[in-house]
């Protein structure tokens, strides 16, 4: 309460329970306006019912700010509509207790995984190579395994097109080509959500995209193998061909299998789904 000399008997109690009591306080506005100026500092913050609404803020602003508030208002109305519509169901939190149940489960999972890391470290400690020596190039130059794919993309020289217009010259150096290939791969992965939309989640619902995924995984493996071709006991031309062949084989097999599974699977899925949400 911004006003302390109120006559209402249970007003002090309310004031103690915090700001929320203000809104149902009754008729204090008249008192605040008419009475002596309040100097106890409590009036500095606008009470709840004086906080400007989106509408009032909108009326005071113009330009982009105004648009923002108009949008806020719309969004709130939309939320409200969604809430009142029956298919947006809210609930109180009724759940598994965080302490101790959830915490103990998390702790045991965490200790298990940390234990796993420690076990690996104890059994397979890393080695230390010879000190750096700029004057001798070692036979094998390798990054860590998770960069093999990028390293492999640098070895795509044979795929760099030789343009007839340029008289058989390559448009760019093989090295530049490889670096660009890296950017292309990362870029393509980044825009996946904008290429594949819709609500399907399970691979079986979209055999094509599952096939693309399997293609990608196998390609990541084969291009990594290509990057260490001097360590792989396969003829390097064969390896190069396999690098591009295997992903397609994997992709086609995935597609065929999922497409076959789809018929029966979608039937039961649709039946259950549409029973719950009949089409409009």
């Amino acid at each position: 309460m911004s006003d302390t000399d109120t006559t209402d008997a249970d007003e002090p109690d309310r004031a103690e329970t915090g700001g929320r009591a203000m809104t149902d306080g009754g008729e204090p506005d008249a008192e605040t306006d008419g009475g002596e100026p309040v100097a106890d500092g409590t009036g500095i913050v606008a009470p709840d019912d004086e906080t400007p609404t989106w509408r009032e803020r909108k009326e005071r602003t113009q330009g982009l700010g105004r648009l923002t508030y108009e949008y806020f208002e719309r969004a709130r109305r939309e939320d409200q509509d969604l809430r009142t519509e029956s298919d947006y169901i809210e609930r109180d939190v009724l759940a598994f207790p965080t302490w101790p149940h959830e915490m103990i489960r998390n702790l045991s999972l965490t200790s298990f995984f940390v234990g796993l890391i420690i076990l690996l470290s104890a059994t397979l400690p890393p080695e230390m190579a010879a000190p750096a020596d700029p004057s001798t190039t070692p036979a094998i130059i390798l990054p860590d395994w998770y960069l093999y794919w990028s390293f492999g993309l640098l070895k795509l020289g044979p795929l760099n097109p030789e343009l007839a217009i340029l008289g058989g010259e390559k448009l760019m150096a093989d090295r530049t080509y490889g670096v660009l290939a890296n950017l292309v791969v990362v870029g393509v992965i980044a825009i996946v959500p904008f290429l594949n939309k819709g609500s399907a989640r399970r691979p079986v619902e979209q055999p094509f995209w599952a096939a693309v995924g399997v293609f990608g995984v196998i390609f990541a493996a084969t291009i990594s193998a290509l990057s260490i071709k001097n360590l792989v006991p396969i003829d390097s031309h064969l390896l190069f061909d396999l690098t591009f062949l295997l992903p397609f084989v994997g992709g086609f097999i995935t597609y065929a299998v999922l497409k076959t599974m789809r018929e029966g699977y979608m039937f039961s899925l649709n039946r259950r789904y549409y029973r719950l949400r009949p089409p409009k």
Binding site: L109, I117, P126, A129, P131, P134, L142, G178, V192, K197
Partner: protein, 264 residues
């Protein structure tokens, strides 16, 4: 209004008339002491308000809403991979901080001080070899887990609207994780580090247009020198830890806000 204390502000008297346990008493004393200076209670109220608004109004989860049977979907264990990446990241951070006490990023001397300090950690320092091993393995495990996490997100279609931003943030994260690994790989300054660094310089140089600038920025020149090692060190122990930790927090925060995408 006078400056005299009012009855209702006599918190001390109020505390005395109640029958408080020592813990409650101590708690209230600290709370009141802080509140008089920092207005803690206001902020607590804001937090509480936020908590109820956020938590008590959750929409029903997809399975609840459509009463899809609570069958355990056989992909669910894979949903732990994101958390597993985080755990491995934390282990790497702790072991890395400990390694940092003994490592020096200097190429001076033959072999270099960097190499010597790592050798010291491995041979002379108590528990040092294990420490390096743990750091190494947690980094490897994290990278593997992040990659598998990405596959899980892909194959469960969890990147679709409204989660596109988190997917892109994930791409940034996996790239930074690899840069993390790469910069760490250079730190022991052994033959593998040196020549991996060499490839890095060459890759930067072959970026069209801005290649030389990138090589200067990341490697401090076109050959590997003290400047290279120092830049990798700062990337690895200062720059990336802050950036990656913040991005992981945002990433998980977004998951918290949006909820886990459930299969249909």
């Amino acid at each position: 209004m006078s400056l005299e204390r009012k009855e209702e502000h006599d918190h001390k008297g109020w505390m005395e008339e109640r029958d408080l346990t020592p813990v409650e008493g101590a708690y209230l004393t600290v709370l009141i002491w802080l509140d008089k200076r920092l207005r803690v209670v206001d902020y607590l109220e804001v937090l509480e308000d936020l908590y109820y608004k956020v938590n008590l109004q959750m929409p029903k989860s997809h399975t609840e809403q459509y009463n899809l049977d609570n069958k355990f979907w056989y992909w669910y264990p894979l949903y732990a991979l994101g958390s597993f990446s985080t755990i491995a990241y934390v282990v790497a951070a702790i072991s890395g901080a400990l390694l940092g006490f003994y490592y020096a990023p200097a190429t001076t001397g033959d072999p270099s001080s960097a190499f010597n300090t790592v050798a010291f950690i491995m041979t002379d320092l108590n528990f040092g070899y294990m420490l390096r091993s743990i750091h190494r393995w947690s980094a490897q495990v994290m990278t593997a887990a992040v990659f598998l996490h990405m596959l899980r997100v892909y194959f469960t279609g969890a990147y679709k609207e409204p989660r596109e931003l988190n997917w892109i943030l994930g791409i940034v994260l996996i790239s930074l994780t690899m840069v993390f690994g790469y910069s760490g790989y250079l730190l022991p300054w052994n033959q593998l580090s040196f020549w991996a660094g060499q490839i890095g310089v060459e890759m930067s140089l072959s970026i069209p247009l801005i290649g030389e600038w990138v090589a200067q920025l990341l490697f401090g020149g076109f050959t590997l020198t003290q400047a290279t090692l120092l830049r990798m060190y700062i990337l690895h122990v200062f720059f990336l830890p802050f950036v990656v930790t913040a991005l992981i927090a945002v990433h998980i925060g977004i998951v918290w806000m949006q909820g886990i995408a459930e299969p249909h």
